[in-house]
Symmetry: C2
Subunit: 726 residues, 2 copies
Amino acid sequence: MNQVDDILSSGSGVAGDDNLARVRAIFEPTTVAVVGASQRHGSVGRAVFKNLLDGGFSGVIYPVNVRAHSVCGVRAYPSLSAIDDQIDLAVIIVPAPQVLQVAREAGQKGVKGLLVITAGFREVGRAGLAMEEELKAVCQEYSMSLVGPNCLGVINMAKDICLNASFVRRPPLPGNIGFISQSGALCTAVLDYAARKNIGFSKFISVGNKADIDELALLRYLHADPETKVIMMYVEDLRHGFEFIDVVREITGGDNPTPIVAVKSGRTAAGAAAVSSHTGSLAGSEAIYDALFHQSGIYRAQTISHLFDYAIAFATQPLPKSNRVAIITNAGGPGIIATDITINVGLTLAKFSPDTTDVLRCTLPTTANINNPVDVIGDAGVDRYKAAFEAVLKDENVDGVIFILTPQSMTDIYATAQIIPALAKKSGKPVLTSFMGELDVRDAIDFLEANHIPHYHFPEMAARAMGAMYRHFKWISRQHLPEIEITPNRPRARQVIEEAIAAGRTYLGEAEGNKILEAYGFPMLPARLVTSAEAAASAVREMGRSVFKIASPQIVHKSDLGGVRVGIATEDEARAAYDDIIGVISENAPQATIEGIYVQQMAGKGVEVILGINRYKVFGPLLMFGLGGIFVEIFKDVSFRVAPIRHNAARRMINSIKAFPMLNGARGAEPCDTNELARCLILLSALATENPEIAELDINPLIVHPNGMGCSVADCRILLDLDRMK
Amino acid sequence: MNQVDDILSSGSGVAGDDNLARVRAIFEPTTVAVVGASQRHGSVGRAVFKNLLDGGFSGVIYPVNVRAHSVCGVRAYPSLSAIDDQIDLAVIIVPAPQVLQVAREAGQKGVKGLLVITAGFREVGRAGLAMEEELKAVCQEYSMSLVGPNCLGVINMAKDICLNASFVRRPPLPGNIGFISQSGALCTAVLDYAARKNIGFSKFISVGNKADIDELALLRYLHADPETKVIMMYVEDLRHGFEFIDVVREITGGDNPTPIVAVKSGRTAAGAAAVSSHTGSLAGSEAIYDALFHQSGIYRAQTISHLFDYAIAFATQPLPKSNRVAIITNAGGPGIIATDITINVGLTLAKFSPDTTDVLRCTLPTTANINNPVDVIGDAGVDRYKAAFEAVLKDENVDGVIFILTPQSMTDIYATAQIIPALAKKSGKPVLTSFMGELDVRDAIDFLEANHIPHYHFPEMAARAMGAMYRHFKWISRQHLPEIEITPNRPRARQVIEEAIAAGRTYLGEAEGNKILEAYGFPMLPARLVTSAEAAASAVREMGRSVFKIASPQIVHKSDLGGVRVGIATEDEARAAYDDIIGVISENAPQATIEGIYVQQMAGKGVEVILGINRYKVFGPLLMFGLGGIFVEIFKDVSFRVAPIRHNAARRMINSIKAFPMLNGARGAEPCDTNELARCLILLSALATENPEIAELDINPLIVHPNGMGCSVADCRILLDLDRMK
């Protein structure tokens, strides 16, 4: 097992017993002290205390207030230490300058968890950040876990706990969605929407500044929580790289998978700037987040409204077992719109079995469309809808149903809604509905939502949600390709790197870079550095048609300065080319140190691709793959993954670029050796993971030869940077 | 003025007096007969009659019913002819087989307009189509205009008319949106949504099968209607090509422009199939509709929900005068989400003037973000919101405002809503709002909507709507480039085409195709057809480096069969190549008639592009442009326009492909001669428009040389088809 395999198999159980205990200290206390509880109307201290009291908390709540004798009729204490009971959780709402003092007191009293609602920490600048670091240190010293600071609080709806330690305006309904938000303000809006749509939550968490407990810890906890069926997240930044992927992949796609849907805001540069000014957080590159979510199996929603659309489907419906959708409608237009989106999100319209078609033919009028989308026609009553719904649910070629109703004058809206829940449940297939309109359909929608049938304002949203469910199904049922064995000569590569560092060199040109790549097992072209015209000639004699490139640490763009000649075939050409390049470079770059000419055998035919590494603080190395030249520069047609990757991810990197057909035999060309290309990506991943000094690396181009004929590294450059090591 | 200019300037006034009179016969009658009016509860005949009666129609309504003496208390007549009054509009609800008879009776009585609600015509197959054709003929015979058949009816909300000739369940509120729908069922859902959102309509039209009056006639009418400020359309098919563009461009972008937003369903192949089975209509290619909408200045919405989002913005707000948006929020997260979408739809975040920043600094707390997006912080009351809102509205660098509120515990939701309408109106700038949530914010949302401030569930939708408004502003204020003069030799081109037709040939290879292109003034390479090795040699002597291509009417893919040689430079090479090609072709395609070898001078350096024509029934010729090879085949990176086009459209065709940088000097290359390329597109447009026998034409490739050096047609093929002529 190599080092990368170690990393790839590092997860010590998804939940992590330690981690669970730490999060439980916040969510499952038996005694809670509210430090800063207040009588004053409109104060956060009152709102939090009242929510705890009204929420029916199963343990004991102690208000702490320096001046008050009681808060809301409950005996108050002047300080934490004055309470004559063990305290599990302290909720802190005192002004920021007093928080540290309270935290220390809590630590001394043996409190296990702190929930700091108070704002005024890292989000307000350097002084705040220092205070937050100190708060963290105090918590570490006393082994207290911490949620916040600068948050709205947390809610645990578990029946035997009922902890509403937050200042939300409206408590949630109980349900099976776990919600994690990096925006406190969004929480209030989410609860308001959810109330209207009868959506319930298991846990509801405002993470605030994430000084200690963050999304990763919470995802582990929610995955282990039997009451949480799906997780919704609003994220502004994340602070883990591969570790996040490693754990979350197991949560979303391992045994007992929990789907996660997330909105990550700050996608654009302007949005990212707003994130920074808002939370003081590091807004990482979009490519990294896309890769992180993709590799973790998190379904990324584009907007908050899509987040809801997907979450309610996951929360209430079984997953479709394949992508064949039936649409039932009493109006052509909405059926067509749903069809369009169904196809666009990667689903197909089910082809009904003859049995189904027979049933539909017998029960629907002749003007109805008995093919998919089934149009039961505007004057359809309950019976016609029911016959069609039963028939398509029973059909083995149907994996899920989108049920559309428009309120025609003859439509019995409510009665039609009533047939859905029982039939849907019996079938074991997902059913999503859209009863179009607002007022006439209101009662029916309320009925559907109360009976856990997802309802969408417009049928296209139902189609989109079905697409999300199918994608999750594909994720949890994906095949794992056999891993590709690699046998890098690590010591040799380390030696080259360490020598460069010792010599103070951070830019490694082709000759040195190739040594590292060769050590890792990349397919190299025969090459050598020559320092005389005669040596050049003899190199060409041995290697055949060659490329000559100037070797100089100062010259990065060799062609631009006239430092490259291709197709040198004879010894005479070699001598002439040697003298020529040296002459041109001496003239064009008189200050450059010339190490000689790098003579490299010409690569055979193939498609030119680029492989790259770019290392980020926090996230680690990001791998890039794409076709060379215009494909990268103009079409930005590249794929990214956070290293390390396995065989599956390498294949997906290759397949997911738009230009993939060019590697796969498009336009009558021979298919290229994508097996060897996948191996190169695995090697790249290992190289990046095992050598943290490599800040940037480009193999540009790697030539991918026809199938079975391998690849050739035709040029590379490496940038070392000790600062960028994690 | 050439023929294309004639077509391009053909519009005899947008409204068309004739057209207006015909549509008015339906929408502005003084007497209406309802043939098939009924007492029976649940019948369409009753619903229509009751709607007319309850709607407060300003004229006289006559129920026609064979058996009943009265309908809903109004004296009924056994037939149209039995009514002792002139009838302007007859609404027909009798069963399909009786419709023709009633229509004839109406014609004889001098009725001016028919509204046929009855279904069972072209949408049910061949027999229905025949009946619909006959109905059309009857209307023509008696000069009656016709809406329908197979529709929900029409509504004219004008105060002095109040015509609700439909069986909608819920009549609309009066307002300034004109709505046209090809789906009757969708109408009921749209009215239901609209009622909830306080959205009013000027005219509400279900067009049904469009046997006579269709979208184009209605758009002209609505444009002339002083009460209609914006038009919403749901379209499944259109049945006009350039005529549609020519008229609608004036409606959306001429004097007194009326914005049009449309959803066109049936985008995917499966969706299009559903359209056909649903309405029996021709679902044209997506590319045509995109081109039609684009050239007409119609804003295409992706979903019904977006259609509403855009329409309410257009209906109530002034257009932004540029793209600089200010966002005000009391919560960071939603502000970031709005920022992301704002940037994605092509807007920018306004940079505030120093004055604004000063005001914000003085009035907001230190923790607030005084830059854009302005975050007034969760505990903001009305005063803080008001100060920020006033300041940004006043700022000359701000063109529009997105106002976001989340219901925090200290937020005075309703009072905050109350400050918006007056300040927004005074500013003359568009203001879109998002008060997030459902229940707590309900009253405030109702207040905003009642006061004509658009409200969106989620801030990203507000940003999207602002983007649509800005795009419309750009359209109405666009510059018109000076036209490019062309002087085609039309008779010469006609002669080549007519000779081919006379000879029964429909496929024109390169030699013949080049004659036509040359006659139109395309930049041709010197070339000639030779029939001996010696003639080939002499051609090369004169023209220099040449390409040899087999000339045979049976051989389309010349290279595949070995029929092409490039870079023939000497007379010897020419002789050898001639014999070689003839030999290879005789072997590979023994049945082909060999006309000789087409010798063509090699083109100079340049970028290879493709120009194409594809003629569609109904829509006419569709022009295509893109870069050659993989760009078309793998990336589908092409632009389309319906011919004829002017200079503006030609430029947009060129600029709008993703690979445009490759023509514009990307990666250090010389910029190409896009002026000449634009001229070629204008020539192509003229050729397509003036020669309807050309069904397909490819110029592949056209070589675009560096700036100032023109283009060269390097290959072409033309397919004639008399059937595809309009």
